[in-house]
């Protein structure tokens, strides 16, 4: 076990080094501009899966967390001039708090009621921010990036490396949750919450924990977005597309393993970026919807399930 854990961290360090290497090797900033969006979706999908995939609570409020992340960052930047990492940390704290509140909702609400309540939360928070003039209200707010610090030569490249680091944190957390008693408890909740409670699984504590971790990651993913766009408004920060994407990427990738959302986010994210550039941004929402339905109907285990099946067939074919 410890060998595997070391393996993961060595791999993570290699990825981070590779990411930094890329910022030195590639001149074209657009690659990082597009890449950052995909990294953002990997974090969102991974975070969503901690609650939605492991515990079976469909959180449709990813956009609420993302938006709160964006606006926490803006508030900290405008009020205190906080640097990016502090903004992200602040957003993570806010996200954990908001996640805790969401977790309390699960006390009374299950299934579709929980999902609708999270949509409600999104719209209510968006309305609050719209009416909060200090951070720009409905018209939005411009943000001036501070000068980039060494060892990076452009802000986008720095954001890209930070994005990679955040992905590593998210995946490490998701992987830890999945492998530990927390993940086993969450799966018990997903299969039968009453039975889990009766056999002594601390369901409320586990759900609160899962909600807080998931919320903190989602908000942290939203925080750099203000600096990335140098602008924020409520419509795009609380855009429901984040909710759909996080859910769709997890379900398409496969929800039972931490690699599922990562795979789903990469496949869908790359497709979407390609479609947005070549055809139109409407079309990528359409592709998302169609793929979501196809996978939910035809491949309930997601891409991972398909791969596993294909692998098993290959192995059997080779044996006989």
């Amino acid at each position: 076990m410890s060998m595997r854990r070391h393996g993961f961290w060595i791999g993570a360090l290699c990825v981070l080094a590779l990411a930094y290497g890329l910022t030195l090797a590639i001149r074209n900033e657009y690659a990082f501009f597009a890449g950052f969006i995909i990294l953002q979706f990997i974090v969102l999908a991974t975070a969503w899966n901690i609650l939605g995939g492991y515990a079976g609570y469909v959180n449709f409020g990813t956009s609420a967390f993302f938006g709160i992340g964006v606006y926490t960052a803006i508030f900290l930047f405008k009020a205190l001039g906080a640097p990016l990492l502090v903004q992200m940390a602040g957003a993570a704290v806010m996200g954990a708090l908001l996640g805790f509140v969401t977790g309390l909702l699960t006390l009374r609400l299950h299934g579709i009621f929980f999902s609708i309540a999270t949509v409600a939360m999104t719209i209510i928070l968006e309305t609050l921010v719209i009416n909060w003039k200090y951070v720009g209200g409905a018209t939005g707010i411009q943000v001036l990036r501070p000068p980039v610090t060494e060892p990076f030569d452009s802000y986008i490249k720095m954001l890209f490396v930070i994005g990679v680091a955040l992905v590593i944190v998210a995946v490490a957390l998701s992987r830890h949750v999945q492998g530990s008693w927390i993940g086993r408890g969450l799966r018990a909740i997903r299969d039968d919450e009453t039975a889990a409670e009766c056999t002594g699984v601390p369901t409320l504590r586990l759900k609160l924990l899962a909600c807080s971790i998931s919320g903190a990651l989602m908000c942290a993913a939203g925080a750099p977005s203000a600096m990335y766009l140098q602008f924020a408004d409520t419509t795009s920060a609380f855009n429901l597309n984040y909710s759909v994407s996080a859910l769709a990427m997890s379900l398409i990738g496969g929800t039972s393993h931490w690699a599922g959302p990562v795979l789903g986010a990469i496949v869908l994210g790359v497709t979407q970026q390609a479609l947005t550039v070549t055809i139109s941004s409407e079309l990528n929402v359409l592709v998302l919807g169609v793929m979501l339905i196809l996978f939910v109907v035809g491949a309930p285990e997601g891409l991972l399930g398909l791969l596993r099946k294909g692998w098993a067939r290959l192995a059997r074919g080779g044996g006989s």
Partner: protein
């Protein structure tokens, strides 16, 4: 700032708005309330109905007539949607919660993008003789479009209430909601009954969509606000209660209208969602729950 006339205005408009909310929610009251289908695509169908009415209105039709003409089409749409949902989720009985929800969210986004691709992202309105005029009753000035929507909404709600209590198939639908196994033991086919019910619930949405575009301009993303309004009304009513839907709609309409008058329009979208959260927290079975 605060005057009695203003409040009276708000309440009268709120009641009319409320009947309209009941009309747009009553289909959901059947599909989600009676059949337990997590039909989050309902508001998207509603906007689809509104755009259908818009398209026929461009050809010179009255929007309400257009809505009625579209009902058979929506009936078929509903039957197909339910059939797919049943075959893939209810029949297998596996994990219908997460994936069923995801399925309808997927449908929602396909409908939204479909509308954007055909009609574009601009706001659309309909033309008719009665739109744009207003009448005065005492001190209260009421726009004709609200009265048209009010009348249509009332007729729709009463017709459905009558259908569910007076006709044989209407009672069968209520029976399948109460006890599916008993229905099966009586020799009836629950699938057929539910399919009929979902078809009717969707057909009604065509007319409700026409009312939606009479009341105000519609854009492809309008359905997002109506997720809150329709689910708020259905949950507040108590799942599957038809007269409850009317009462709950009026409650939401009046509250929204008063808040709008006192605090301004920017708070409006949050009201239905906040009410929904409060109801879910305090009385999840609603006012007339089964």
């Amino acid at each position: 700032m605060f005057s009695f006339e203003l409040l009276l205005d708000a309440v009268v408009l709120g009641v009319m708005l409320g009947c309209f909310y009941a009309a747009v929610s009553i289909g959901l009251s059947v599909s989600f309330g009676l059949l337990d289908v997590p039909h989050v695509a309902h508001p998207a169908f509603l906007v689809l109905g509104a755009y259908g009415a818009y398209a026929l209105n461009q050809a010179g039709w009255d929007p309400i007539v257009a809505g009625i003409v579209l009902t058979p089409l929506f009936y078929v749409l509903g039957v197909v949607a339910y059939r797919v949902y049943f075959e893939t989720f209810e029949k297998r009985g596996s994990d219908a919660g997460v994936r069923g929800l995801a399925f309808f969210f997927g449908v929602t986004f396909i409908v939204e993008v479909g509308i954007i691709m055909v009609f574009g992202v601009d706001q659309r309105t309909v033309q008719a003789g009665y739109i744009g005029k207003a009448i005065d009753i005492g001190d209260v000035r009421i726009p004709m479009r609200m009265i048209a929507a009010f009348g249509g909404a009332l007729a729709l709600t009463l017709a459905l209430t009558a259908y569910f209590s007076l006709t044989f198939s209407g009672r069968a639908i209520r029976a399948v909601a109460q006890d599916e196994i008993a229905l099966r033991l009586m020799g009836a086919n629950p699938l057929k009954v539910k399919q009929l019910a979902f078809g009717i619930a969707t057909a009604v949405v065509a007319v409700a969509g026409a009312l939606l575009i009479i009341v105000g301009p519609v854009e492809p993303t309008t359905h997002r606000v109506y997720i809150g309004r329709t689910f708020c009304v259905v949950v507040l009513a108590g799942l599957g209660s038809m007269h409850g839907t009317l009462v709950a709609g009026i409650v939401l309409g009046v509250v929204e209208s008063i808040v709008l008058t006192l605090y301004g329009a920017s708070w409006a979208p949050a009201i239905s969602f906040a009410m929904l959260l409060v109801v879910l927290a305090i009385r999840p079975q609603g006012m007339f729950g089964r």
